[in-house]
Symmetry: C2
Subunit: 364 residues, 2 copies
């Protein structure tokens, strides 16, 4: 495998490149005001496509299930729908979320805070499909292959990811999103949904499931999605989502700077928090970076769906940087950046710049 | 009106700023492979929101129709649906499309080529609603106001646009997009659709229609959407869409550079072309920037919907910059940039970088 073009890190004063802008114009985050929805409407959910969005005819689509199984299967959409259907509400987050806020900045899809969304995914349980095929006792990983094709740092590939057999219990082979057939951009006709894991595991436009007896060493597992501290560090695999809270930016924005304007008084701050590692136990907010006030958590939702939170802020005139951070039993979100070469699985605390105006005062 | 912060133009060597990246992460273009669809699926249509996406309760939503009319109206959604429904397939394009390809670069939403999409819009005819209210004989413009609120170069505002009465004939007050209720991000519950005009005219989250007896001088008409050659040039208003063709990038991409890889042989190039000024009469393609070959136009569609085209390319190994350009009776797309301060209504020809490999040759 050619991996001679390592992921690049921008110089400390290097601004965003045309390559990064091209990716930002194609892929998109979730506008943070959409944190108000339990389930993100189609078109506001974040979306990252490594190559092109392929166009798969659902009438000729087939899913092969093969490798270390007793009976290889080839399923069409009707056959997949014949398995018992499950529906899970799941929060997906890109492993690169927050990357463009790191210093120095890893050069890739330049996410700020918005690479997240929550959807209702309906489909067949992977475990039911694997049971029908008869999993061999020496099965170690399940390799998902999509129809999307391209090159990445010199390696031509269909998008592929291996997932340990120990982690398949919750996986859904989803053919519906929010009660409708999957939209093309979210993997039509069928994608993998791996609740609790960062987005790279949820292979879209699924065409092949191969059960293998050794850990998969394809590009996306062995090269791309790893936390490394230097280019020659083999690093550790990116797996489950670290805890994160995001706030609906209060008040209204300036078009160009996105700075927020709020009128002094009691302001209710709201948002969502999630973790793929353990249930969120607390969210706290700060308007000065020193003192943290506990937020009130909303009702617990599906284990891998985000949870609402709210907090009250007595806003007095001035300029503030609001922060919110989530906590689970594995830890609390860091205020300082947790840097790595690829900017992967970084959950640095959100910062929202707010100007509080006196009541009836000047608007800007 | 404070307009003391004029639109900024980047220095010739100035890279993309964090402000521009924030906008690119929120707003999104249409991935160009979606040019294959007659009607763009929800979630792939381009989207520009000046401020935040507001959340409007359709059960309490009302539309005021007032000003120079005989009988002011207040319509709820049922009342609007009582007017005869029309459905139009309309291509929308942002007036800033292509802005980030200009040199020097106007600093605003940094679009490359993708700020376009086509949808089926269903709703009431504005002319029917104005007839019900009784248009006064001194009516000059119709001012649309949305629920979206923010500041722009120091001016706090609800998003507002005036449209000359002479141009209202085709306007739809749309409550459905592609056969379903408008999604929140496209203006739910009702938006204006002004076929043939750039996106700034299609006011979303509509709450008020005021008929006025003088040209409207609000920010979006008088300051923002103008073609100016310098900061103190009053310029001319941005109105109807100039002709443009876009090509589906052939082959497959590299993740980071978006460069395309194609195998040598006969390649069918396909795309769409549109103009809000006059019907598209021709599309031509070039692989060397000097010779232009005519493309074949597909069937004519709705007057303001894009039209398909295709062309055959005998690709031989090498590196190419492919171009496509559209023509209508008002002119042909320029290969060199048509620059202005805001980067408005620029229709510079698309360029697609392609590497053609020999059959069976190295992949990258």
């Amino acid at each position: 495998m050619r991996t001679d073009e390592a992921a690049r890190v921008a110089a400390p004063d290097e601004a965003v490149s045309l390559d990064e802008l091209r990716l930002a114009a194609r892929n998109h985050g979730m506008p943070l005001e959409a944190l108000r929805y339990d389930v993100t409407p189609i078109g506001m959910h974040y979306l990252l496509t490594h190559y092109d969005i392929p166009f798969v005819d659902e009438t000729t689509w087939r899913l092969a299930v093969r490798g270390r199984v007793a009976t290889p299967l080839v399923l069409d959409l009707a056959a997949l729908r014949d398995f018992p259907a499950v529906e899970r509400t799941v929060t997906l987050e890109c492993a690169g979320n927050g990357r463009a806020r790191l210093l120095p900045r890893p050069v890739s899809q330049p996410w700020l805070d918005e690479a997240v969304g929550t959807a209702r995914w309906r489909g067949a349980r992977l475990t039911d499909v694997l049971s029908a095929a008869g999993l061999s006792s020496d099965a170690v990983e399940v390799v998902f292959t999509g129809h999307d094709h391209g090159t990445e740092r010199g390696v031509e590939q269909d998008y592929q990811r291996g997932l340990p057999v120990a982690d398949v219990a919750d996986v859904v082979l989803a053919y519906e999103m929010n009660g409708a057939p999957l939209p093309p951009q979210h993997g039509a006709p069928v994608r993998a949904v791996v609740p609790g894991w960062y987005g790279m595991a949820h292979v879209k436009w699924l065409r092949d499931i191969e059960v293998v007896a050794e850990p998969f060493d394809g590009y996306q597992n062995a090269v791309a999605y790893r936390e490394r501290m230097s280019a020659d560090d083999p690093g550790t695999p990116v797996t489950r989502i670290r805890p994160r809270a995001l706030m609906v930016p209060p008040g209204y924005p300036d078009f160009m700077t996105r700075r927020r304007y709020v009128t002094a008084g009691v302001v209710t701050l709201t948002g969502r928090a999630w973790s793929g590692r353990a249930p969120v136990t607390a969210v706290s907010v700060s308007c000065d970076g020193r003192t943290w006030l506990p937020a009130t958590l909303g009702p617990a939702a599906d284990r891998y769906a985000w949870r609402s939170w709210s907090a009250t802020w007595e806003a007095t005139p001035g300029e503030y940087t609001l922060m919110a951070r989530a906590e689970d039993e594995t830890g609390v979100q860091p205020v300082d950046q947790p840097w790595n070469v690829g900017g992967m699985a970084n959950n640095m605390t959100q910062r929202v710049e707010v100007v509080v105006r006196p009541p009836g005062g000047a608007t800007t």
